[in-house]
């Protein structure tokens, strides 16, 4: 099993390890030196977390509670407004449209990636000639810089000269204006699914490797075919891994900016919460005016969702450990 570790796959495996360190009684008596050493070794990380995570996040939340404008950087004045900006953002006509588009983007991406990844993982479960090479090649979309995939998809979806429309023309379908306002959401979702399938494949494949072969042997002795085996063994046994895959997929899809921005700049129907925040803060695409406070309001909403998901993840992991 050679496949590449995802950050999340490491998460799957890592955190329980530390708890398994058994404390011999002798060490317990002189715990202080070890604790000091531990603190020393972890100090760079602590400093790092405070300076490079806590501080920017604090800054983000603070901006959402003050009225920041471009002028703030000149005059230094940003009056405290409490939750006013939150109310404005939620009341704005764009908000619910964007939430709806984000939901479509996330849900469709998740479902198709998961089903595709699961089918591929089941396909690759038993090795065949070239299987490990092909599986490795499937990782390419995921390891490529997103700017590369984004620009390639953009060109493939070009209305006049794009290869997708040429393929469609071969089967007699009229050219699709892929990247215009109406179709933008579908187009970026397609590209995002393509990006996400390898991730699902890797995690679900590694999950399948953990299912004992005897189960399949017993089932095939009982005359269960491949289809039946999948639904009665693979799928149920994979439930915990599936839950974690979907959960991480949700978090990762929710925060996607780059693929959308590169393809459409978040214009038209492809504006999600994350690209909206990006465009308001950095003033391109659908928002021509810079609105730091509004952007950080949307950012803070995303942050809260991420935090909640962190807790859900932890709970799911606990439950899996208890089994």
């Amino acid at each position: 099993m050679w496949f590449v570790k995802t950050s999340s796959a490491a998460v799957l495996a890592a955190p329980t390890e530390a708890d398994e360190v058994v404390v011999p009684p002798r060490a317990r008596r002189r715990i202080r030196p070890t604790t000091w050493a531990a603190l020393g070794f972890v100090a760079p990380l602590l400093v790092y977390v405070v300076v490079l995570y806590a501080y920017p996040l604090y800054e983000n939340v603070s901006m959402s509670l003050h009225r920041f404008t471009r002028a703030t950087y000149v005059t230094g004045e940003a009056p405290f407004t409490g939750l006013d900006v939150y109310r404005e953002v939620i009341a704005s006509p764009q908000f619910w449209t964007t939430v709806r588009q984000t939901t479509v983007f996330v849900v469709v991406s998740l479902v198709v990636q998961y089903v595709g990844g699961l089918a591929l993982a089941a396909f690759f479960r038993r090795s065949f000639p070239l299987s490990s090479l092909l599986r490795a090649l499937f990782l390419v979309p995921w390891l490529m810089p997103i700017i590369v995939s984004g620009t390639t998809w953009q060109w493939m979806m070009d209305a006049d000269s794009g290869v997708l429309n040429r393929f469609l023309g071969l089967v007699g379908i009229d050219p699709v204006w892929w990247l215009n306002a109406d179709h933008a959401l579908a187009s970026v979702t397609i590209a995002n699914i393509w990006l996400g399938i390898p991730f699902n494949l890797v995690i679900l494949y590694s999950g399948m490797q953990g299912i004992p072969d005897e189960l399949y042997e017993a089932a095939s002795l009982d005359g269960a075919g491949a289809w039946r085996q999948f639904w009665s063994i693979t799928f149920p046994m994979l439930r915990p891994v599936s839950a974690i895959t979907l959960l991480l997929g949700f978090v990762y899809t929710l925060k996607v900016v780059d693929i959308i921005w590169i393809m459409t700049m978040g214009t038209g129907s492809s504006q999600t919460l994350a690209t909206w925040a990006y465009s308001m803060a950095f003033g391109k695409g659908s928002s021509a005016v810079i609105k730091y406070s509004e952007a950080s309001v949307v950012g803070t909403i995303l942050l809260v969702v991420a935090l909640v998901m962190g807790f859900v993840y932890l709970a799911a992991q606990r439950r899996q450990e208890e089994r």
Binding site: W2, Y48, L134, V140, I197, D258
Partner: protein, 284 residues
């Protein structure tokens, strides 16, 4: 040949024929999946005048676009290498000792820290970028390479810590005890036992840290917008999108060049990646 052996051989032949079937399907699926990659290479080799025709194969392949890449993109490529290496160094310096503390020393509150690391990976990059932008513009470090390195490292550090924790908790206790019996300090044990043993996971962390920093678009496009030629290669490609007359040839050629680290990671580093994975992270 006995009957059972013959039956066995027949069955074996059957299975081989069936699995070649699977290989055929697998190849087709892979081709479909990698079509965009092929298309990128195809466009990058197609002469400027023929690009809009969109032929399936480059009829008269040309390297003209790659010549343009050499002329225009070298500073960006160099910047990306510097940013990538800086990110790797910072990530390793922070993550390796922390991995040791979390896996081997009885750090109080390590559960909380683990949780924070999980959440850290879930934080939307755009939120981080907003915070960084505000801080950086106050400190005047926008459009600087160290600033970008600091931001890029936040993608890799949580992953790095977790990979080191997973690997280092698999190091046999006897190894560490032997060092301690010889009177080695924790620092000494870390430097001359833990680190050398963890070399493969360090390589894995380094490779991914480099790849992620190299691929980063979000921090580069926000914290390093005005950096001119001191912007990474992702921005070099992005410039082509913004320009009036999109030059697809040079853009796709640059994209191909930007995939070199990906290719290296897939081909050369498989061994290390596998070692890192099987040694530590795969528990059950």
């Amino acid at each position: 040949m006995s009957t059972t052996a013959r039956v066995h051989a027949a069955r074996h032949g059957n299975r081989v024929r069936r699995s070649w079937w699977r290989t055929a399907i697998g190849v087709v699926l892979t081709l479909v999946m990698l079509f965009p990659v092929y298309w990128m290479v195809n466009v990058s080799l197609t002469p400027r005048t023929a690009i809009r025709a969109g032929r399936l194969f480059p009829a008269s392949p040309t390297l003209e676009h790659y010549a343009i890449v050499l002329r225009e993109q070298l500073p960006h490529l160099l910047t990306s290498v510097v940013v990538g290496l800086g990110t790797v160094a910072l990530t390793l310096v922070v993550a390796a000792p922390a991995g040791y503390a979390l896996s081997r020393l009885l750090l109080p509150g390590r559960r909380v820290l683990n949780f924070l690391l999980i959440v850290a990976q879930m934080i939307p990059a755009v939120v981080m970028a907003l915070g960084f932008y505000s801080i950086y513009s106050r400190l005047g470090v926008l459009d600087t390479i160290p600033g970008l390195i600091l931001a890029d490292s936040t993608i890799a550090v949580p992953f790095g810590v977790m990979l080191f924790v997973a690997f280092m908790s698999g190091i046999p206790r006897e190894l560490l005890q032997a060092a301690q019996i010889d009177g080695a300090s924790h620092w000494r044990t870390f430097r001359s036992v833990v680190l050398p043993v963890s070399r493969n996971s360090a390589v894995t962390v380094a490779l991914f840290a480099f790849l992620w920093a190299w691929s980063d678009f979000l921090f580069a496009s926000t914290l390093n917008r005005g950096g001119g030629s001191l912007r990474p290669i992702t921005m070099g490609i992005y410039d082509y999108i913004g320009s009036q007359n999109q030059e697809w040839g040079p853009m796709m050629a640059t994209a191909v060049v930007a995939c070199v680290p990906t290719a290296i990671l897939l081909v050369v580093a498989q061994r290390y990646v596998a070692a890192g994975v099987t040694a530590g992270a795969v528990k059950d």
